[in-house]
Symmetry: C2
Subunit: 194 residues, 2 copies
């Protein structure tokens, strides 16, 4: 039988979201509740890879980590990989102030899931959702930048749409689905080879 | 004789500044020209420590690294440890826009120098300079946030004061001087003990 897969995150919401997505696809995710060390990089991919590998080697487990960010084009990708720090310091108010008088409000959320094994194997999976930044915060549900992000082909923010809808179209779901597809396929291949 | 000390940095300006400060105090710094991996943390101290240790262990050399940031109080310490990313994305223009209409413009530059040896020894040294953020960029010299930072008891920005004056009062000088004092003293102690 294949080994358990642990999601290393200190964030309960993230774990529950991932658990729900993966359980529907037949993967039961376990929770490794730790605060992970992340490197500084403009590339989410690199950050997630390093974290997953380090934790897999240290714990001897099969690990997934997820990292995401909001990339605003008129701000050259700000806040990007540092979305969490920017949220904690200047907040939505600050981000909206930076966009005052800016017409091009195109942005995207990107998520990277990295899967690593203690033997040094590591692979990343991406998910992305395009959209725009609203003129003011709207909606009550969700967290982080949800009140100011309007996904493409909607006219409501993530916070107005609510978690249920958000979770069917989110960057994180897409990244986890990409992981799941590969994971299930790769287990099948391993089983066949016996 | 004591071992050489290498400053690990990809930034030529930083190396030259540190070289000049330390050579006057009798320490000849060597340049290890590498792009270092830094962790994400709100604490410069933690970032510098981890980097220095990792490089010292990997290279077998005595290593110093330096990390600095601009901390703006009205913005809860933004841009802080991510000053370089913020400079590359929203720039001085963005930072000034965030402070539009804000009266409290108090800020400080902080520098942390971490010294590490391959055996796992590591120690950090801080330097800080208080000041305020100007209403618009002023001055031609220097780099980064120099055109918008007015050090306490001056009425010109770092970029107006010029590198010569800046380098006599800067956070980086203070951190390197603190390192030098300790380093010279600790070598003296080692020599005495033979």
């Amino acid at each position: 039988m294949s080994m358990d897969v642990y999601f290393a995150t200190s964030n309960r919401n993230k774990f529950l979201e991932a658990y729900e997505i993966l359980s529907k696809l037949g993967i039961i995710l376990k929770w490794l509740r730790i605060t992970k060390v992340e490197i500084q990089s403009d590339l989410l991919d690199e950050i997630a890879k390093k974290s997953a590998l380090e934790i897999a080697k240290r714990t001897g487990k099969h690990i997934v980590v997820e990292d995401d960010g909001l990339f605003i084009e008129a701000l050259n990708g700000f806040p990007g990989p540092y979305s969490s720090f920017v949220y904690r310091t200047i907040g939505l108010k600050g981000v909206l102030k930076l966009l005052e008088g800016v017409e091009d409000r195109v942005a995207y959320f990107k998520s990277v899931v990295a899967y690593a094994e203690p033997n040094g194997f590591v692979k990343t999976f991406e998910g992305r959702i395009d959209g725009t930044i609203s003129l003011e915060p709207r909606g009550e549900e969700g967290f982080g930048y949800d009140p100011i992000f309007i996904p493409e082909s909607y006219n409501k923010t993530f916070a107005e749409l609510g978690l249920k809808i958000k979770n069917t179209i989110s960057h994180r779901r897409r990244a986890f689905e990409n992981f799941a597809k590969w994971y299930i396929e790769s287990r099948r291949t391993i089983q066949k080879s016996f």
